[in-house]
Amino acid sequence: MNDTKLETINYSLYYGKFRALKDISIKIPKNKVTALIGPSGCGKSTFLRSFNRMNDLIPGVHTEGSVLIDGEDIFKVDPVALRQNVGMVFQKPNPFPKSIFENIAYGPRVTGLKDHHKLEEIVERSLRSAALWDEVKDNLGKSGLDLSGGQQQRMCIARALAVEPTVILMDEPAASLDPIATLKIEDLIHELSANYTIVIVTHNMQQAGRVADFTAFFYTDESRTGQLVEFDETKKIFTSPRDRRTEDYITGRFG
């Protein structure tokens, strides 16, 4: 089996008294793509945000159990340092109202890097890794908001890469994109998985099938409490799921 990068043990999350996630234990392997799938409201996005502690921003959230990165409890790590190690790409591209260059340089700058040459290097390397360099190299001063939706999303990926994380969380990164832009993002995810541990939430079964090495199926019943039903290699989940609910979901019987 692969090395484990991220792990949760009996992890539960509450919004006030409402239990949104129940007893989730999972081992997410290193430098692989893991997809989180499941019907709307099953808590997969919430679960994703647990790994960079973005749920901390919501008042009234508390958790039980533990979340580990490289075996270390993330709640004992400073969230600012954690988020430099665990990057995130959001559902809707969210470039800052700044130039392309400044968007990418933002992360390194907040960690204190001032050297312009180094920043230029990082910007180029990050944009190349995100397969965007050739399209924007002559227009780095242009506002990030002027790019197309797909380019904006790749810029947001480049922006996350610039901080040199080891993990990238993606919350339905192609949900607002057209099929061609989606394909580019998927190719990119595939390339990045050589060097990064990627966890991606997706509603799109085919997408999970195309990009993910491993797939976790989340499910919720009337209680609206999300739980992990099944986690395995994507092939197995799609061809021979162990749980009836997984099979119903991936064959499109609900959700």
């Binding site: 960079n52 973005m54 921003l57 008042p59 600012v80 340092a81 954690l82 988020r83 430099q84 990057g87 995130m88 959001f90 809707k92 969210n94 470039p95 800052f96 109202p97 700044k98 933002y106 992360g107 700058r109 907040v110 960690t111 908001l145 947001c156 922006r159 996350a160 901080v163």
Partner: protein, 300 residues
Amino acid sequence: MSGRMIADKVVKYILFASAIISIIIVLAIGFFIFRESIDAWTEIGVSEMLFKTVWRPGIDQYGILAMIAGSLSVTFGAILLGVPLALGCAIFLAEIAPEGVQAVVRPAVQLLAGIPSVVYGLFGMVILVPLIRNIDVPGNSGYGLLAASIVLAVMILPTIASIAEDAIRAVPENYRHGSLALGATKWQTITRVILPAGKSGIIAGVILGVGRALGETMAMIMVIGNSAIMPRPLSSNPLTFFLSQARTLTGNIAVEINYATGIHESALFATGVVLFGLIIVVNASARWIIRSQKYVEKAN
């Protein structure tokens, strides 16, 4: 046509008329102030009035430059003191304070806007002026730009703070999340993303504060000393500029209009025209900036 549709038409015209009436009132005020000032502009001369510093109606000297300088200086002082305070308030309310604290602080700040001008004046006279008088500089009476700037800073605080808070709140949540997810601290997120993104709204708030400051009358009369002189440093230390007495454009009108006649009265209306012009420029620029902000948001 049915009765309902007639009623609909009638209401429409009544509302239209209300809008027109308010425009007519503004134009009428502008027109009459300007008409009353024509004698002064023609007999004294435009440049004589705008660029001469001596205002002595007794010997027919009507230069209002000293009052323009007074108004601008006290406004500058109020902005210098008031903007950081207001911005701090706005950031605290929009980004940091938990809801319970907001529920106490926000009404308290808004309450400042409701305190009558004359009460601010009293506060200035009784508290600030005696304190400032303790600064040991010859010619310092306590009344002057410093006292007036402090009073004015507090008076414009609610205007700027509430507009700046709205501007900060209008910054899309995904900028905040994007920045935090990159490992920026809350403070870095505020200074590097949120404030730049809300910049136009904040500047518009400051400009509206300037407009409010230029128009303030009663509190200024009570604490600024009202000497119709160019403000100047009292000693070799340039900071003593703020201990200088001064007179504002508004104060000039309010202090003298009761007994002024003839060309003197007309010169006071001319002071009003200058004030009117300044306020129009200030409001127009605020509008222009707010509109350019809307454009940016749409582009997003």
